[in-house]
Symmetry: C2
Subunit: 295 residues, 2 copies
């Protein structure tokens, strides 16, 4: 089958046909030229591991944007709150959500000292926001802050609902979310949720284990019966896990000249396949590379 | 479980809590007030049915943008070209693609009189383009044309790679696509592909049957072995199908005051759940409602 696979590859969409002669940077050439200081090892205490029968999904938490919500999530993970609970919703082109299927009923698992919180939308000061200079449908400026996609109005910065972002489900009242119900964006960025729901991190490993789940057939993609729920084996911080279960993840820093070059290489796609490079890029179209470090 | 499901619903993200007292339009109220003339029945000869073991996916074709490519696709469907071929690629947050796994090899199924074509990116004249007045990362103007998301530079209009759009795979040469390899956008809109690949339609039914497929583990999301390929039972135009297999699909017209109201209702989300309506909307965030007509 080798020959036929090669033939299919030749017909693919968006093939990265990087010409060796070309001096124009591509993402591949920018990453090849990056050095160790362009990468940042994510501390295990900032990584949240969601363990499913189908494998593990790992999130980097964003305490610089949502410190109280992240503290709640750390407390819940620490006590094994989610273990044996379930993914209850998979809405196509929108979100996957999990928590206690009995939430809000007398059968709900107690949250103990974990309280509902007022929203945390904005970083203190600028939060390290750096604009990528792109026009955006939703915000005056867009870019990145501490490795996360973000927006700014010049004074305040906030995280944006790009693919893979992790948020805190809430009810109609703005202060009704605690972190016990979480969702991940698994579709085209629902940016109308920006500054309406608290974002607390993003997926850095294994998102396909969430995005390929069967869609729920109930309203808003909720699974209709408990037999459809996807059981959660456990959710833990990396710092709680035995060393052999930890993933040594590094992500490309977003505050370096290398990252700026990567953004430019994607704004003007130089790979041979492209006829007309866009010359522009949406904040949710910028790849955020993650790799596993050698231990 | 009814009670627990209701409890979960109360905690969901983006719940449509439409207040009966509120005079502000929501998408629900706009659709409720729409009349028959706001909907357009899609002719069966413009619908392409992709039949998989897991169910059917239906596309509306866009001959006003890509007449020659659509003609190729019609010929291929008419002769059953894809029957028994396969979905060969599912790349997370990008595309699902199908065609002949042996394309480009001597074992390839013959294309007969179906030739590769020069790209068809632009509609004749404006193609009926209507701007929604939104800022966009990729184009001077964005809006809709004949039910499809589109962009314009004032003179020419072209289709945009929003979620669910159907495109023609090609190789490095711009004129190497015929329509025999097709892909559907199943992730955040890869708008850098606009004006680089010919778009020929969009999904109007059953996209979850593609978007929830397991991701391919090969480069670019290609399935690594033939055992992973997802077999295609058949692909046909609706006009070729026996009446009992046709779906009587109607889509909301995009050239009416009702549609303009829908866009505004989504630009300013008035549902009680929202704290801060965005006041803006991306072209790929506008819902394009489809319903099944009573026969």
């Amino acid at each position: 089958m080798k020959r036929s696979c090669a033939a299919v590859l030749a017909l693919l969409v968006g093939v990265t046909a990087f010409s060796q002669e070309s001096p124009s940077p591509t993402m591949a050439s920018v990453l090849a030229a990056a050095d160790e200081s362009d990468w940042r090892r994510v501390e295990q205490r900032r990584l949240l591991y969601l363990v499913l029968d189908r494998g593990v999904v790992v999130f980097e938490l964003a305490p610089s944007f949502a410190p109280k919500h992240v503290a709640n999530i750390e407390r819940l993970a620490d006590r094994g709150y989610w273990d044996g609970l379930a993914i209850v919703r998979s809405q196509d082109n929108y979100v996957v959500q999990w928590g206690d299927p009995n939430a809000g009923t007398p059968a709900a698992r107690p949250l103990g000292d974990v309280q509902s919180l007022a929203p945390e939308f904005f970083a203190e000061a600028s939060g390290g926001f750096r604009s990528i200079g792109s026009t955006d449908s939703y915000a005056p400026q867009v870019g990145f802050a501490g490795g996360f996609p973000a927006a700014s109005d010049g004074d305040r910065s906030w995280l944006t609902h790009c693919y893979g972002m992790l948020g805190v489900g809430r009810g109609t009242e703005p202060d009704s979310g605690s972190g016990a119900q979480l969702y991940v964006v698994t579709g085209h960025a629902p940016r109308h949720l920006d500054r309406n729901v608290t974002l607390v991190g993003r997926v850095v490993h294994g998102i396909e284990r969430l995005s390929s789940l069967p869609r729920g057939t109930g309203p808003l993609g909720f699974y209709e019966g408990t037999d459809e729920h996807v059981p959660i084996r456990r959710i833990r911080l990396g710092s709680q896990l035995p060393p052999e279960e930890r993933l040594p993840l590094e992500r490309l820093r977003t505050d370096t000249p290398t990252f700026a070059e990567l953004v430019e290489a994607r704004r003007f796609r130089r790979e041979d396949w492209f006829i007309e490079p866009a010359g522009s890029i949406g904040v949710c179209n910028v790849p955020l590379p993650v790799r596993q470090a050698a231990e």
